[in-house]
């Protein structure tokens, strides 16, 4: 099938996603990833800590672990859809970061992303595909933050690339 042989134009892909996101906005809410990830974190923490999790107020006042939280299933769907796409286009194979420096960058980057999402209450998806198209003031604040962050991150990345 042609679809699984050629790379799709991202403009077409994102235009389709945007139309579907409008339906999501009407049914449950706009596309978001960070909220689902936070709920998964809470559920994992509950599985490990049990009742002791209640001693951390965040998991009672902000995010009470709930497996029926719809945002979780967007992330699981993305994982499934990407797996199917990679399998059918013969692009699925295990790949690992080659150098220790890459592992360190990914570790630090992951921690910053997780911490930043919760501090902001939004992730990059909610920023570009939810808040800003709703013209929420938070979208403009978040965009100014993420552009400044990407710029600083790019400077660090460039420095590392240059050795």
């Amino acid at each position: 099938m042609e679809f699984f042989r050629k790379t799709l134009d991202p403009v077409i892909a994102l235009a389709i996603i945007a139309v579907l996101d409008i339906f999501m906005f009407l049914i449950v809410g706009a596309w978001t990833v960070g909220g689902g990830e936070t709920m998964m974190t809470g559920l994992a923490a509950q599985a490990v800590l049990g009742e002791d999790l209640q001693r951390i107020p965040f998991w009672n006042l902000v995010f009470r672990p709930d497996p029926g939280y719809w945002k979780i299933y967007i992330s699981l769907g993305m994982l499934f859809g990407a797996f199917v796409g990679a399998l059918l286009s013969k692009e699925f194979y295990l790949r690992y970061p080659r150098h220790l420096s890459e592992w360190i960058l990914i570790t630090v980057g992951g921690l910053l992303m997780g911490f930043g999402i919760r501090l902001a209450f939004v992730c990059n998806v909610s920023t570009f595909f939810g808040l800003t198209p709703e013209m929420n003031l938070g979208g403009y604040l978040a965009i100014s933050g993420i552009i400044a962050g990407a710029w600083v991150g790019s400077l660090i990345y460039k420095k590392i690339l240059e050795g």
């Binding site: 235009a15 049914i27 974190t41 993305m78 295990l94 919760r118 209450f121 990059n124 013209m135």
Partner: protein, 199 residues
Amino acid sequence: MSVVGECLVAFIFGSVVGLLVQRSRFCNTAALRDAILFKTYRNTKALLVAMMILTIGFTTFLTIGDGHPMHFDVGLNQILGLFLFGVGMVLAGACTVSTWVKTGEGNVGALWALLFTFIGMFLFSLLWSYNYWPPAPSAMTGEPNLQALQLGYSNAATLQEKYGIPAIVFGLGQTLVLFVIYRAILRKERGQSSGAASN
């Protein structure tokens, strides 16, 4: 809609998104990083087109009081949080979407990034439980709260309510701004390709 129905809709939506992102190699990180570092705009253009469609779609439905807009107070934490996120996504080479999509392709580095995103969230939950900032949703009033560095809640629907101008009018204004940026990128690309041809 029932909880099961909501989860099913979310899963189907996510699956289509995962498939389309995997086949198009779209990356939100690249949309910002490549524009800053390499002056290439493949992903930036796609992001802008999506934002134009979404702005028209969302503000049209907000005009008639439909849809489920995000509802919480915003403030300094959005700038700080997304600043940290922006640094992190460039260092990790992936954002929230590409970590899931690349993990689905068998990328162990992306899975590692996801794991540490979760750990970062848990660490934040510990800090929040100590300083209680930003305010919990139950403590939000929708009004500015400068002591807590919060500016309240506002979007196209609240603008419509405040000024009596339909939300779609504001939406068209924003779409125009996005289109001007999109056109500037196209011009820049044409300049780059004609410069390369003359070399």
